[in-house]
Structure formats: C-alpha cells, structure tokens
Symmetry: C2
C-alpha cells in the first residue's frame, strides 16, 4: 500500500488538527514508519474566525484558507483535507485556488449519516455550521431531519475546549447537550464540529454517534491510496 | 505573546511527531486558537532510515532532511525543530541548507541533563544515537558519565512502538530496560529517542526521567517567542 501526499489545512483549532493526525496514524495499517502517509500541514490558528465571519462580525477566512491550500500544493501535496467543519463554508474558494482535490468534510459527514440509517439527526455543531445550514440543507436533501443544538448552549463549550478544557466536567456538559437532542427526538448524534469529539465519544451517548472527524480520516485513507 | 512560525521536520516516526505537536499545544499558554503558534510540518515517514544509514546498510537521510528543511523555509517557517534524536546526526547538513535556525535537540537534551544535576545518565536511545555517540560524547564533555542500553535490547521495542504497539506490555518492557540501567548505576534516565516517551513516563522510573521531547517543546516555545 502506498499513499499520495496529504496536505492538511489546519489550526481550526490546533487541538482538533492534532486529533485528526493522531487518528489518521491509528487508522493506517502500518508495520513501520514507511507504511504511513506523507503529510504536509499548515496549522494556522491565526486564520480569521469562521463564526465571526458568518455572523458578519469579522473578515472572511476564505482568502487565508485558499492561500494555505496553494502553499500546501506548491510544497507537494496531492490531495487536501481540512479538519474543521465550519471552514467548509469556504470550500469552493479553496477548490478554485488549487488543482488538487479537497476531500469535502460535509459530503463525508452526510455520507456517514446516510449509511448509519439515521432518520432524525441531532446536530452538535458550531454557530457557523448551524447558521450556514451546511449540514441541515444537505441532510434535508437526503430526506433526513435535523434537530439542532442552540448556539448559545454549545458555543461557550467550544470556546472552553479551544482554551484547553477537555476535563470530566466538560465531557459531562457535552454529553448533556447530546442527551437533550435525544430527548428532542434525535435517533443519532452528529459530532459536526471537530472540537466535539475531543470531549465526547460513543460511551457517553445513548444513540449512535457519527463522528465526522473519524469519517474524514477514513475517507482520506481511501482517497489517498495510490 | 506571539510566536514565529515553526517548521517541523517530522515523520521519524510519525507518532513521535504527533506526540511533539500535542505537547507543544499543551505547553502553550492559550485562551483560544489564535494564541497558538503557526506550525508548518513535513511529516515524511519515507525519509531513509537513520539506524540503517549509520550501520552502513542504507543511504544517508541527510539530503532528504535538508530538502524538507528547505521546503519548510520556502513555505514560511522562521525556525525549525526535528523531533527525532538520531536524525540530528545530520543537523549540520540541515543547517547548511537553510538560513533559519534549527533548534538542536541534542544540545537541548544535554542542557536538560546538566540542570538536572545528574552524574551518571542511563541512556535509552536508538542504535544510531548510541553508535554515533551523539549524547555520550556531549555528556562526557560536560563531565557526565553515561550507561548505555544495549542496542539489541531496545531496538526490537522501538520497532514495535513504530508498528503501533504502545500497550501495557510494551510499557512494562521499557520500564524494565530503565530499571536495568538504574541497577547499573544510572542516577537519571534520559529518554533520548522520541519513541521512548510514548511508552515511558516518570511514574514508571525510580530515578529522575529527563524526557528530551519535552525539553525540545520547552526550548521551541522559548526560541519562537517574538
């Protein structure tokens, strides 16, 4: 098995990027160093905020993300992944900037929900993803309902995770948000923000949990194969 | 606080690179994404093997490492770090290829040993590091004795860690190697291979453990500060 060189548009947030890299390693069948994929990464935590941009309160991160993609391509990346759901609002701008493919996280997430057989998905996502309808529109087109978390309930948690809080208290709070969505009728929880799985796993949720970060890892492994 | 952009020459092995990135994140005082350092990484697990090269059984990784360094510099890196002790045998070749500094892991490791007050260091390192005397010569110059692990004892463990085995059995085997060095008179254990701290921490060692990966993280944070 050999792989094409992956370019990672990262830093949104940096801990989510490291989580993605660690899972990519764990998911790669390898007997030694040389069996792993070459990965170029631009982890740029100074990229303009996605939530502020979509709320009309800050500049678009699109040009920065496109420049990062171009830099990775120039360095030898043969395909791109970006472990941040919200940043995919600017996926078209990134794709227009390079000649290599971007493995689309939203498409991957929607495909994972479809194969799960979910009918009513509880969406744990950041304000930008909720506001833009990135998932809810795509899921609706696939005939799948969504129940969305309230931005005011989840944004303080995401900001605390980005500040480094991934302890038991935080894990309990995120699990409670998931439970609230189940009470509102969700038959599946979609972890559609890369900070969410840093503090939430299947053991904390009473219905199936679809983790888009893991789905992206698997899609990258599949698409990077030579 | 703001930082210069770090370039990481990685992939030796990839899990050690991710460990370095995770610790760099954890050690950075940050209230949110934007407080973290921008990090460019070339994680290239296909770089020629360091142990084979120093045993005269394979090509030198020097040209590959120098090319990676040049690529990171061209992409905007302002200083370099390479979380692999053995690869520092080629540090001069890397430094000659770029105009930006490489934070030298061996110098950082030796400095950490000096401040620890150790007199006789038990060296847990790969064959290439033992064979080249990277640490033993520098420590001797500082008046510090070394007790070295036998390559035949540690290399099978390092290769198993690179193949993904970081379980309790492996942890016990690595701890036993450390204990053997203490029996031979070591008053400090030096984890001088980036795979070692993936399975060994202070709780498993009866004398102080100096972890060069952590020392590199702290040196990078210090030197990257603007």
């Amino acid at each position: 098995m050999s792989y094409r060189t992956l370019g990672v548009i990262g830093g949104m947030g940096p801990a989510a990027t490291v989580d993605f890299l660690a899972r990519l390693l764990a998911a790669t069948p390898a007997k030694g160093d040389a069996d792993h994929m070459r990965v170029l990464m631009d982890c740029n935590p100074q990229a303009p905020g996605r939530n502020a941009a979509l709320a009309g309160e800050g500049p678009s991160p699109g040009p920065t993300l496109a420049a990062m993609a171009r830099g990775l391509e120039a360095s030898g990346a043969e395909l791109l992944a970006m472990p941040c759901n919200a940043a995919h609002f600017w996926a078209d701008e990134i794709r227009a900037a390079v000649a290599i493919p971007l493995v689309g996280m939203i498409e991957v997430g929607v495909a994972a929900v479809r194969v799960s057989g979910a009918r009513r998905v509880g969406l744990l996502a950041a304000d930008a993803v909720l506001r833009s309808g990135l998932y809810s529109k795509a899921l609706a087109a696939a005939g799948i309902d969504t129940v969305e978390i309230e931005p005011d309930a989840i944004m303080p948690l995401i900001l605390r995770i980005k500040a480094g809080d991934t302890g038991p208290g935080m894990r309990a709070e995120m699990a409670a948000l998931a439970a609230g969505l189940v009470e509102r009728g969700a038959d599946t929880i979609l972890a559609a923000c890369t900070e969410v799985p840093l503090v939430l796993d299947q053991s904390q949720v009473s219905v199936p949990l679809v983790d888009v970060t893991q789905a992206l890892v698997e899609a990258v492994l599949e698409r990077a194969r030579r």
